[in-house]
């Protein structure tokens, strides 16, 4: 079976992003970009399913401008077979990304689509579920375990207080949570090989999807700052402060 994996180019998770002073946008000048950590887990899971003989082909897709080809190449270096870039510019909303991915799904007919549960820039946590609705597929979100058997996939999910296992008819959607796997590092030979793997580029027009906008970012601002407090010298002073100054314990 074929697996489609969606990957997103985002600011590296170690970068502390700030709002520009004029509030017009976030300041992304010269910051390090990387594959979204949850997308990396998605690629790893797909590659493992291929290595286990469950999947026959892994396709990495990304929606973005030309620079996102870098993240597609990362996915190819981790073991995906070929890449698809949907060429867009500027910020594309999750609903539109889901529509573009739906068009790719219609074209490629994968049995499984694996995405990260959220990207660490917009923190929306929407795209996988929206794709599920548009493609009328079952979804296993926040997955910590994926087991394909026959025409079904069992997905164990992280829920409040524990784990839940669902059985989904294939084709289905999976969105990854942290504990699903630990992604490998790409080896140098694989990075070299990835450069030669096929990568097709489509425009939204090619896919018959109109880029629409439902939300306008009016402005951005820094969060309310917290004033640094004090250092206490020992446990006794800490307990005294909590009881008598902050009055949060009795």
């Amino acid at each position: 079976m074929k697996i489609l994996v969606a990957v997103k180019r985002v600011v590296d998770y170690n970068v502390k992003v700030r709002a520009k002073a004029d509030g017009s946008d976030v300041d992304l000048n010269n910051v390090k970009m990387a594959i979204n950590p949850f997308c990396e887990i998605a690629v790893e899971e797909a590659v493992r399913l291929k290595e286990a003989g469950t999947a026959t082909e892994v396709i990495a897709v990304s929606v973005g401008d030309k620079s996102c080809q870098e993240q597609i190449r990362t996915a190819l270096a981790l073991g995906a077979d070929r890449g698809i870039q949907v060429e867009t510019s500027g910020n594309v909303e999750p609903l539109v990304v889901a529509k573009l991915l739906k068009a790719v799904v219609d074209k490629e007919k994968p049995q499984l689509v694996i995405l990260g549960k959220q990207s660490i820039d917009g923190d929306n946590n929407q795209t996988g579920q929206m794709l599920g609705a548009l493609a009328n597929m079952g979804q296993g979100t926040f997955a910590s375990k994926v087991v394909v058997s026959g025409d079904k996939v069992n997905v164990t999910r992280e829920i409040d207080g524990g784990l839940q296992t669902l059985s989904l008819k294939l084709p289905a959607i999976v969105t990854t949570d942290l504990r699903l796997n630990e992604p490998r590092y790409a080896s140098l030979p694989n990075i070299m090989k990835a450069k030669k793997k096929p990568l097709d580029v489509f425009t939204p027009e090619d896919l018959g999807v109109a880029i629409t906008s439902h939300l306008t970012r009016v402005k951005v601002q820094p969060p309310a700052t917290r004033l640094a407090g004090i250092k206490v010298k020992d446990v006794q002073e800490l307990v005294d402060k909590l009881k008598n100054e902050a009055k949060v314990i009795s």
Binding site: R18, V26, L95, D121, G122, D123, G132, V239
Partner: protein, 309 residues
């Protein structure tokens, strides 16, 4: 203007996060109805009807909704949504699962994790792990919103008398089914609604050492959390994770033990009223947000702290 609030529940009791969401709905103005989708969930409907300010409680009681399968519940909500301007749900793992499906079925955007209602179409929401607060304006006629529960104080649970109306619509997409659930039953309060939270990080060194937090949690009636580093290291399960990719908490007292204070952890707890940090590294970033910092070896400090409480 009318708003539909989706109830968070376990078929037995109405969760507090629903009451936080009703508070956000009140900020939007207009009539408020609550939808309870579940199975044998009559007690939840009764509780929802007692929430002050609610006009009507709609109850879809059917086995198709027992486990809140996203495929089924989203079809129901999208249908009921026809009569409303706003659809609000708490940003809990459960509602985050099905709400984007609702938005896609309605062909509108979802506005995730709203922390403030500026006007009927404009909202604040944190992005980039809460390092930036975005003001977003929606052009959709119907708005699908998840609410960050820590941003709104819960409305009272009693005093109202809404009418209860049964919905007979059964939506079973028949593409997913429930297999099993392993839920740890804890005597402790839930992380997201606890008044006190004590969390451990990588400095705890292993899962066994998290027991050092138990006695303190017992004495303070606290929930126990963890940093992503501690989850990644396999010390504790992921549902204990506090941070950008875990739970967002804002208790009266948050105690961070052996947590350095990575951006993504701060995103989950920096709105706590009082923050205590215990860490042996005096330069740890956690001290920059802590009201009270104690530079100490946690293996010495924790037993002493417990004894003095």
């Amino acid at each position: 203007m009318s708003t539909l609030v989706i109830a968070e529940h376990d078929n037995k009791s109405l969760k507090v996060s629903t009451l936080n969401t009703v508070a956000a709905a009140q900020a939007m103005g207009g009539a408020i109805d609550i939808l309870v989708a579940g199975a044998n969930c009559g007690s939840v409907a009764t509780a929802a009807a007692a929430v002050p300010g609610v006009t009507k409680v709609l109850v879809a009681d059917n086995t198709a909704y027992e486990h809140q399968l996203a495929e089924n519940v989203s079809l129901l909500i999208a249908e009921v949504a026809a009569g409303y301007d706003n659809i609000l749900a708490p940003a809990t793992p459960n509602c985050k699962n099905f709400m984007p499906r609702v938005a896609a079925l309605l062909d509108v955007a979802q506005i995730s994790d709203v922390t403030s209602v500026v006007s009927a179409d404009t909202f604040l929401r944190p992005i980039y792990a809460g390092n930036v607060i975005a003001t977003v304006k929606s052009s959709d006629a119907k708005k699908v919103i998840t609410v960050r529960t820590t941003a709104y104080d819960a409305v009272p649970a009693a005093g109202g008398s809404a009418t209860v109306e049964a919905l007979n619509a059964v939506h079973d997409a028949e593409i997913s089914s429930f297999v099993s659930e392993e839920v740890v039953v804890s005597e402790r309060p839930e992380l997201t609604s606890a008044k006190v939270v004590i969390s451990g990080g990588r400095g705890m060194q292993n899962g066994e050492n998290f027991k050092l937090l138990d006695g303190i949690a017992d004495k303070l009636g606290a929930a126990i959390g963890a940093s992503r580093a501690a989850v990644d290291a396999g010390f504790v399960p992921n549902d204990m994770q506090v941070g950008q990719t875990g739970k967002i908490v804002a208790p009266d007292l948050y105690i961070a033990v052996g947590i350095s204070g990575a951006i993504q952890h701060l995103a989950g707890m920096k709105d706590s009223k009082v923050i205590v940090a215990i860490n042996k590294d005096e330069d740890a970033p956690i001290f920059q947000v802590a009201d009270y910092g104690l530079v100490a070896d946690l293996f010495v400090a924790l037993p002493e702290f417990e004894a003095k409480l």
